[in-house]
C-alpha cells in the first residue's frame, strides 16, 4: 500500500497504532510527547500496552499545561478496566504480575466520544476536526 503523507489525510482521521516494542525504549516523557504530539495533530493514538499509573498521572498533568482555548481542549482516554481492579502490592510489581499492559485509546477530546465501555469492549465515535 502506498504511504500517505500527513498533508494528504485532511479528509480523514489518522489512527496511530503504537506497538509495545516501539514504546519500550522510551522514557516516560518521550512516551507522553509521542502521544500528545499525535493527539494535538488530530490523530487517534492506540497503545498496544498502555501506560503505567505514574505515566498516566504525568500525561494528565502535561495535558493540562497544554490546553488552550479554541485550540486544544484536552484528551479523551480509554482503557479496559483492570479485571477485578485488585490492589497489587510491591511484590506483584517486583515479580512483574502488575504489568500495565492494557490497550489504551487516546484522542482529542473534541473528536472522540466513548459510546460504550466494559471489560472486553471499547466502542468510540470518532469525528473529523
Amino acid at each position: 500500500m502506498p504511504e500517505v503523507t500527513p498533508g494528504e489525510t485532511d479528509d480523514g482521521v489518522q489512527i496511530d497504532l503504537i506497538s509495545g516494542a516501539r514504546m519500550e525504549g522510551l522514557t516516560s516523557m518521550e512516551k507522553i510527547r509521542l502521544i500528545l504530539d499525535g493527539v494535538r495533530e488530530g490523530n487517534i493514538v492506540v497503545l498496544e500496552e498502555g501506560l503505567s499509573p505514574d505515566e498516566e498521572s504525568k500525561l494528565i498533568e502535561v495535558t493540562m499545561t497544554e490546553i488552550s482555548p479554541d485550540e486544544f481542549n484536552g484528551i479523551e482516554i480509554e482503557t479496559y478496566p483492570q479485571s477485578g481492579t485488585q490492589k497489587q502490592g510491591l511484590l506483584d510489581r517486583l515479580i512483574g504480575t502488575a504489568s500495565p499492559k492494557k490497550l489504551t485509546v487516546i484522542g482529542p477530546a473534541n473528536q472522540i466520544e466513548t459510546l460504550h465501555k466494559d471489560e472486553n469492549l471499547i466502542s468510540a465515535l470518532v469525528s473529523r476536526k
Partner: protein, 213 residues
C-alpha cells in the same frame, strides 16, 4: 519507573510513615469535578476547627487551587488524629471554557476559569505524586463510578501505596446508589455520606481515624 527506584521510594515512604507520627498526615481529597470535595472539606474543617476551607458551588471547577487546612484534630474513641486536609480541584483530562458559558459567564471569565482549572488539575496531580500521605476519594453516588478518570486515579493512588478511603457522597439525593460505588472499587472500603446534610459523619470520622491515624 525503574525497579530499584520504585523499591527505594516504597521503603522511603514506609520509613517516613514509621517515624513521622508526630507530624500531621496530609490527606488529599480527590475525585472528579462536582463530587462534593469542597463541601466535605468544609464539613470536616467546620466540625473540628470552626473554619471553612473554601467556597462551594454547583459550577464545575469552583476549586482551582489545592487548598490546605492544617492541624485538623479529630477525636475518636479517646484517641486524637491530627491531619492536614488538602482540598484539590476535580481531576479531568479535558477542560473546555465553553462549558462555563452555560453558567451565565462571559467569555473572558470562562477562559480565565478554564485556564485556572487546568493549572489546578496539574497541581493536584503533582500533589498526588509527591505530597500526600493518604487519600479520600470522593464520588457523587448518583453518578456512574465506572469512568476512565476514576479508574486511572484509583490506579495511580494504589501505585503510590497510599491508604485510600472511598466516600460515596450525596446520599441525600434520590438517585444515590452507594452499592454501585462499592461494586466499582471492591478492593477499597466505601463509606456513604452526605457532606451537605452532615449525614453519617460519625462513621466518616471513625474511618478517617482508623485509616489515617
Amino acid at each position: 519507573m525503574g525497579l530499584l527506584t520504585e523499591l527505594r521510594n516504597s521503603i522511603s515512604r514506609a520509613v517516613d510513615r514509621m517515624f513521622s507520627d508526630a507530624d500531621p498526615k496530609r490527606i488529599g481529597i480527590y475525585g472528579p469535578p462536582n463530587a462534593g470535595k469542597t463541601t466535605l472539606a468544609n464539613r470536616i474543617a467546620r466540625d473540628w476547627t470552626g473554619d471553612a476551607v473554601g467556597p462551594e458551588s454547583h459550577i464545575p471547577h469552583e476549586t482551582r487551587r489545592a487548598r490546605r487546612k492544617e492541624n485538623v484534630e479529630i477525636e475518636r474513641d479517646g484517641k486524637s488524629v491530627r491531619i492536614d486536609i488538602v482540598d484539590t480541584p476535580g481531576v479531568t483530562t479535558k477542560v473546555d471554557y465553553k462549558e462555563f458559558l452555560d453558567h451565565d459567564m462571559e467569555k473572558d471569565d470562562a477562559v480565565r476559569r478554564s485556564r485556572e482549572a487546568t493549572e489546578g488539575v496539574a497541581e493536584a496531580m503533582h500533589w498526588l505524586r509527591e505530597d500526600v500521605d493518604g487519600v479520600i476519594y470522593v464520588l457523587d453516588s448518583t453518578e456512574d463510578p465506572f469512568t476512565q478518570v476514576n479508574t486511572m486515579l484509583i490506579g495511580i493512588i494504589e501505585s503510590q501505596d497510599l491508604p485510600v478511603l472511598i466516600f460515596a457522597n450525596k446520599t441525600d439525593l434520590d438517585d444515590s446508589n452507594v452499592q454501585r460505588v462499592a461494586n466499582a472499587f471492591p478492593q477499597h472500603e466505601t463509606v456513604p455520606l452526605s457532606a451537605l446534610e452532615g449525614n453519617n459523619m460519625d462513621e466518616v470520622y471513625g474511618k478517617i481515624a482508623e485509616y489515617f491515624g
